[in-house]
């Protein structure tokens, strides 16, 4: 039984037309509909994540992987109607909820996002309030979930800092004084605060030095396994996916062109695009 499933997920920016799906995608070599100009960020994507499993999504920028990640993390604030004139179709099924998650009301979506499905944003500014303290950013998740005892909140934040290897002594400093790696850790601590079932990481290493990347990924890998939390890791970096993911989807022009065990994708890529992608790294 899958924990989280996406069925026929499609996200289109623009008005859309009958030709959109047929004239975009891998075979068409573009994600922009030549008829109406709409951008098909992703289309007909099917995927599933099991409990404790890590699913990788790789592809170059513009392949639709971030759109997919945001969709899965219920990041659009107004349901089926996405931000800036986008439209989301398809279904997201989640073991902890009946029905299509794309159709839930704001409060349910908010509750799910706060407790069940966390997103670690690609850009720190989207995920953190930099003027708040690092601890405050993590505490927000707890407070939103109804924690009302100050010392209990402090204790939980402290233990999350320790778990994600952020110096506890920096807990009360404004987040903008943190290094990039620490900010990323705060995001991870925040994402884990309410013991979610799934964490979606969108480009978890963007903007970090290579050595810092490795440490952040290792921390996440350890915590992810210890907590048994499922994860969806979106990255253009094959190394990230190779390190974290059990299974991987390869996306191009808004379509999934190949999927399978991560080591199989890396060592025995079938699709022409995947072969190019793998070879270009090696």
């Amino acid at each position: 039984m899958s924990l989280l499933e996406g069925a026929d997920l499609t996200k289109i920016y623009g008005d859309g037309c009958e030709s959109c799906r047929a004239r975009t995608g891998d075979s068409a070599g573009t994600n922009q509909c030549p008829v109406c100009g709409s951008v098909v960020a992703c289309a007909d994507v099917n995927l599933s994540v099991a409990e404790g499993e890590v699913l990788g999504i790789v592809g170059e920028s513009g392949s639709g992987k971030s759109s997919l990640a945001e969709t899965l993390a219920l990041a659009a604030d107004d349901g089926g109607e996405g931000e800036s004139g986008s439209r989301i179709e398809g279904e997201i099924r989640y073991a902890g909820h009946e029905g299509n998650l794309l159709e839930v009301d704001y409060e349910t979506r908010h509750r799910l996002r706060n407790g069940d499905i966390s997103l670690v944003h690609q850009h720190v500014r989207d995920g953190l309030e930099l003027d708040f303290s690092g601890g405050g950013n993590v505490a927000e998740k707890l407070l939103s979930a109804g924690w009302r005892n100050y010392e209990a909140v402090r204790e939980r934040v402290r233990s999350l800092f320790e778990e994600t290897e952020i110096p506890v002594g920096r807990m009360d400093d404004p987040t903008h004084t943190y290094s990039g790696g620490m900010q990323r850790r705060v995001q991870i601590a925040r994402a884990l605060a309410n013991d979610p079932a799934v964490v979606v990481l969108d480009e978890p290493t963007t903007g970090l030095d290579v050595s810092v990347q490795a440490r952040v990924l290792d921390t996440f890998r350890r915590v992810q396994r210890e907590e048994g939390v499922a994860a969806i890791v979106v990255s253009h970096d094959l190394g990230v996916v190779r390190l974290l993911a059990d299974r991987t989807l390869v996306m191009r022009h808004g379509r999934v062109v190949e999927s399978g065990l991560t080591d199989r994708i890396m060592e025995d890529p079938h699709h022409e695009y995947t072969q190019t992608l793998i070879n270009s790294v090696i």
């Binding site: 704001y106 409060e107 708040f132 927000e140």
Partner: protein
């Protein structure tokens, strides 16, 4: 200002002559209570809606008023919309009835609505107030109209009104809780001086206007109706009688009112009222006006002192004020005045029942605690 009502005959090239032509009219031609009936109906409807959804900010068509926005235009519109000719009206500005602004608002109401005015809280039917709720318990036949400069408690944590409206719609107050959390991190306790965020009827987070924390508990389960009106922001909200109003706080970092350890009012000797610090240096210089705009206490003192100048002078010289020349006095001048002749006057003296829970120092338990 109102283009439609501008008389055709008024010469527009000479302001002086325009004013000249109006001066003979006096109040002739003005509607009862200054506002036209459409405006009053609009405001009353909004007040009714606000009462129906306690704590929710109801937009209304705020009109230009004959004073600058931010000086109580919302409060005046609300007061003038609900005042009837039989009503008695009291206006307080930061605890004082004597400030220029309060006096002007009273005069506008007297001249246009023909109401009686009073400085006695217990005599008033409608009390318009800025930054204070009176010390004397208000009753179920009284309405308080509070002037509101900033309508949304959430603006402290997010400047986007659109985002905040959505938060209110979904009772999503996580950001405000983080603000309180950060406050405790920084100060060890929640340190919000005024505009303390409060939950109304367990549903809406409300900005109770810049009243001190001292006054916040008075909103909870009160007998009176509280109407909060903002002219500039064109919003009205309300706390109906007997509504639960709970200041946000942690289980282990509770809400606390201001403390005045070992201080009593320098004028009436009260220890159970909200006190303001007065700087004798500026007081003795007689520049009451200069202080009035800032915290109101200077202006209010001026009023009381004029009333009994010699007493006050003696008190000043012979007082036990510190070397720095600072002393504490009641912020509610009207009640202070009563206490001067009757120091033991309880705040619920005008009620049949005793021990009305009306903020700090009201109940017997509170008084017992302070007498030790």
């Amino acid at each position: 200002m109102t283009e439609t009502d501008r008389p055709e005959t008024t010469p527009t090239d000479a302001v002086d002559s325009a004013l000249e032509s109006l001066s003979d009219d006096g109040l002739e031609g003005y509607n009862y209570a200054y506002l036209d009936e459409h405006t009053k109906r609009e405001v009353r409807r909004s007040i009714l809606k606000a009462i129906a959804v306690p704590g929710h900010q109801v937009p209304y068509a705020s009109r230009p008023m004959p004073l600058a926005r931010g000086w109580g235009t919302g409060g005046i519109q609300a007061s003038l919309s609900i005042l009837g000719p039989e009503d008695t009206f009291k206006v307080i500005d930061q605890g004082a009835d004597e400030s220029v602004n309060a006096a002007n608002i009273r005069r506008l109401a007297t001249e246009t609505a023909g109401v009686e005015t009073t400085t006695d809280t217990t005599d008033a039917d409608v009390i318009q107030t800025r930054h204070r709720i009176p010390e004397e318990v208000v009753t179920d036949d009284q309405i308080l109209v509070l002037q509101v400069p900033i309508t949304d408690a959430l603006r402290t944590v997010d400047s986007s009104d659109a985002a905040n409206r959505r938060r209110h719609a979904h009772k999503n107050y996580g950001k405000m809780w983080v603000h309180l959390y950060e406050n405790v991190v920084e100060w060890g306790e929640i340190n919000i001086a005024a505009r303390y965020p409060t939950m109304v009827a367990g549903r809406y987070l409300m900005d109770p206007s810049p009243i001190p924390r001292w006054d916040v508990p008075k909103l909870d389960d009160a007998d009176a109706l509280f109407v909060f009106a903002a002219g500039r922001e064109a919003r009205i909200y309300a706390v109906p009688p007997h509504t639960a109003v709970e200041p946000l706080a942690f289980e282990d970092r509770s809400f606390q009112v201001e403390r005045f350890p070992d201080q009593a009012c320098d004028v009436c000797g009260s220890t159970d009222t909200y006190l303001t610090e007065v700087d004798d240096a500026s007081e003795s210089a007689g520049s009451t006006g200069s202080r009035g705009g800032i915290d109101g206490s200077g202006g209010s003192r001026g009023g009381i002192d004029d009333d009994g100048g010699s007493d006050a002078a003696e008190t000043e010289t012979g007082s036990d004020a510190g070397d720095d020349g600072r002393r504490y006095v009641c912020n509610d001048t009207s009640f202070c005045h009563k206490r001067r002749s009757n120091p033991d006057l309880p705040r619920d003296h005008h009620l049949d029942r005793d021990d009305v829970d009306w903020g700090p120092g009201t109940t017997a338990a509170d008084r017992g605690g302070e007498s030790t």
